[in-house]
Symmetry: C2
Subunit: 573 residues, 2 copies
């Protein structure tokens, strides 16, 4: 039988609905109005109609509660939750997020094409709709050793086999503006589909060129002027509120009734604890309303607008034939879903996931595993003193940008060593993907450890093993523990392992429940702080110290990189 | 060289723009605001950027004039202009219409797949962008003999080879609602693409089912309640102002700032004279503003909104990389373009087409020709009197609906004949596509001819040759004249031909300039009125008297059809 027939029969009134939600006040994002109480009839995963007098196999009386479409996160890296798609879903579904536009960029830097396909397989059977975009910049540069590469042909193949929907944030905006062959080829591979942008700080002619190339959005705005510059050019504005980059308050004043249709919400990167305790898009919607935005506009920014930008015609609204992703809530001024329906199924109630709503996929998880080939115990971390003066990475609180400092080295027995008294710690980047033995060594200020070390395989974008410590034994212990776990995070003090969070899936994601991951992560942060770090989240901070595309000084497995000059430099000046 | 490179170079400011329009006040449909005067730089057919200080190969100082995107007609049958796409373009481009979403439904009923491909070829090189939708209901019913059929496989083939963009107005809405196999197959063939609707009078559960099937718009609303019913369900509302169906005034009160984004304008069917003397979408925009609509909303309804509904990401707005379809005008309260740029080329100025802007395509026009195989002189039109009482089609002024009358026949020599004194005229429908000799005969009231006949091969939807006359000789003379012309319109009085308008392209379209067609059409109407017809446009009225899907009584080449019973009936009661 044609799959539409049961839906048509219920819509016509010729068959009982599979479920009728009675007495709902529909938040109609098409018209921008709340409709008077009526009954919403479903046919399995689809909406059949709104009316009265439906026969039903099951009814739920919602007694006048509001019902709006499920929220859409317009741009997120699931990997930042350190969880599988299923466990990420377990965190966000109770918040009312029923669709995410996901860029599997982190895992792709580890395992390439296979990673994107694994992510698709792992998400396939979930009630959360995961719309994958093709990572556009893997690897970021040739100045680090990533696990894999994705070229235009690979992206085209992923599109043709239905794995990806568009092109994810095009971070190499200088390459696009200058018309580099590889970037034009990647844009061409997905032309006609949504192409997300990433153009921090670009203005004027540069922004014109970037837009003209076919990019259609940006989520990197931090000032109202930047946001207006993008809206005027026709870029969708994705307002971001990530754990480590919070732009909502700054950008809300940009929203007007006339331009709101071109604005969406996204979370980009949120830690598991942030997702569990603060929330996701639901949090942004409520915050926006508190800040004075019309609730209908705020809800549209979380539903219809991203559906339109991404050309997803059957979600983002409630109407006949649309997917029944539905949120039930009681206060239009503070939409906190007390029931969440995803694809017509009740998946969360009272902020709690319905048990077994997000089973782990049966996909073979082995693919992106086992990628931590570091032999830490046999790695020599000593730095022969080739001079007195060294380049030091100067970490700045709450920033991804670093300073490039020039300081006097502490030298012992002909070796440059850490000097915790001056907050001068050793940083090491172990290549972990290809067993090359590549090792980058340097010094960093700002992490404040009095002793011990922290380490992890979350290190944007190449995700090699990065460690920061007061002594070589602590660093080696941490690296060895992580290598044994197949990737993860660790805190050590000498030969003692104080905390560890295994991330066996690509060295980026845990195979444990999100609550356990959040707890383990908090425990690791706690121990890092106990060792003296003043940072709110030293692991998050560390994960950007090896990212060679954000100025000024960074360390990769190939050595120090002066990002402003875009070249490798020596440790000793 | 990659085609984007010149555009990127101009956008960056590294190369002179091909054209700079200086001092424009940009009507920004993204933000809903008019921007302060600035310079708009083009790279051939694309916008490079808005700013200042551009180098340019050519400049035009617009001295503060407004510039908005070219208008989009969201639904039109080009055939109703009785002109080729090139001559239709000559009529609408000076009005500022730079894109039409066209349903080649009329020609497809004559020549099927070949007709759609011919229309695409004939439109291909024009500055007017013709986005073809696949005709969904060819033929309308089995109760008439059409020239051709288009099934789901044919539609799928047309989509796959890039000829059509989506599915055109799905007129068989009862078939969709009831889930008929052929309609579901056609919807499936274009699923994921825009599917336009046509659901006159449908409400409640029927409208739910129709929407649930995947239809996304409607242009048949005549009352505000119908319009709101459709907007609430998520159907785009295409407000229509056709020559013979004017819904703008009735529907404008529905538009609010909150729902305007889901509303577009369309013309559906306009005669050549109406296009030349009244206008097209430009006329609707001005009328809407006069009626109190915000000019920015009105312009968006003619630009960004249809671009969004049809997923046409590079038109409908002015921004870097978008196609340079631009209108220049001086009064925001009455946008009458004094310059029209289509794909970056100036195509009209002061309401006049730039000479040679719309050359006829070199496509082989012979395909849809020569389809009028009627042998009128040897056709016996006599109706033996099989009784006294006859069913008569009762034409109602300004309506497509007819009454089914029961009247006493006038009988002479054993034959039922016309009786002009009682406004009882003979109507004949000659099958013209397949040389079957099929002939439908009957009587009609309401056309008011005192003598003579009118005839034409425009007869929705099958487009057989229909004639209405006071005597058989006049009818035969008209039919013979048209057959000789390979299709067209004619007015006769006995053996005298008073007026004729040959329509050799499929019997629907002239090969002459639009002004000549408009004049010839006006002349034919003039002669029909001189013969006594009180109708404003007797040819338009006649063209719907053979349409067997609009109640109550119609005549096809297979005989009288009782549309309410959806079956053929005898002439004699």
């Amino acid at each position: 039988m044609h799959p539409l027939r049961p839906l048509l029969a219920i819509a016509r009134g010729d068959a009982p609905a599979s479920l009728v939600l009675q007495n709902v006040r529909l938040v109609n994002v098409f018209t921008g109005q709340v409709q008077p109480p009526a009954d919403l009839a479903l046919c399995q995963d689809r909406v059949a109609g709104l009316g009265s007098g439906y026969e039903a196999q099951q009814t739920i009386d919602l007694a006048g509660a509001y019902v709006c479409p499920g929220f859409i996160d317009a741009h997120v890296h699931i990997e930042s939750s350190l969880c599988t798609p299923a466990q990420f879903a377990a965190a966000v579904l109770p918040r009312g997020v029923t669709t995410v536009i996901a860029d599997p960029h982190e895992l792709a830097n580890v395992a390439g094409l296979e990673a994107v396909q694994w992510m698709a397989a792992a998400a396939k059977a979930l009630p959360l709709r995961v719309v994958l975009m093709g990572p556009s910049c893997v690897p970021a540069t040739p100045m680090a050793t990533a696990g894999a590469a994705l070229d235009a042909d690979a992206l085209r193949a992923l599109y043709r086999n239905g794995t990806i929907h568009g092109l994810a944030e095009v971070m190499n905006y200088p390459g696009v503006i200058r018309g580099h062959d590889d970037m034009l080829a990647k844009l061409d591979a997905l032309r006609g589909q949504p192409i997300d942008g990433h153009s921090p700080g670009a203005t004027g002619r540069d922004l014109d060129a970037y837009t003209a190339a076919g990019v259609g959005s940006d989520h990197e705005c931090v000032t109202p002027d930047e946001a207006r510059d993008r809206l005027e050019r026709g870029l969708y504005l994705l307002i971001r509120e990530a754990t480590n980059a919070r732009n909502l308050d700054a950008l809300l004043p940009v929203v007007t009734p006339a331009n709101a249709r071109r604005i969406c919400f996204c979370t980009d990167d949120r830690t598991p604890g942030d997702l569990l305790h603060t929330g996701s898009i639901d949090h942004m919607v409520r915050r926006a309303i508190v800040a004075g935005l019309d609730p209908l506009d705020a809800i549209r920014m979380a539903t219809l607008n991203p559906a339109e930008w991404f050309g997803l015609r059957d979600i983002g609204a409630i109407g006949p034939g649309r997917v029944a992703d539905l949120l039930v809530f009681d206060d239009l001024q503070a939409p906190t879903p007390r029931m969440v329906f995803a694809k017509g199924q009740l998946v969360a109630q009272g902020g709690k996931l319905i048990e077994h709503a997000t089973p782990e996929s049966e996909t073979n998880l082995s693919s992106p595993r086992g990628r931590c080939t570091v032999d830490a115990q046999n790695t020599d971390l000593a730095i022969p003193a080739l001079g007195d003066t060294i380049r030091v990475i100067g970490h700045l609180p709450d920033q991804l940008l670093t300073e490039s400092l020039t300081l006097t080295a502490k030298i012992e027995n002909g070796y440059a060593v850490a000097d915790p008294a001056r907050d001068l710690l050793k940083i090491a980047v172990f290549e972990r993907h290809h067993n090359t033995g590549n090792l980058g060594l340097g010094f960093i200020r700002g992490f404040g450890l009095n002793r011990g070390a922290i380490a992890g395989t979350v290190a944007h974008d190449h995700h090699n093993l990065v460690a920061i410590g007061a002594d070589d034994i602590s660093i080696r212990t941490a690296a060895a523990a992580i290598a044994k776990d197949g990737g993860g995070l660790a805190v050590t003090d000498g030969e003692h392992i104080l905390a560890r969070l295994p991330l066996p899936i690509g060295g980026l994601m845990s195979d444990q429940p999100v609550h356990a991951v959040a707890d383990a992560y908090a425990d690791a942060v706690h121990h890092a702080k106990a060792l003296g770090s003043p940072l709110a989240d030293p692991f998050m901070a560390m994960s950007f110290m090896a990212l060679e595309v954000i100025p000024a000084l960074k360390l990769t497995d190939l050595g120090l990189v002066d990002v402003e000059r875009f070249e490798q430099v020596d440790l000793f000046v």
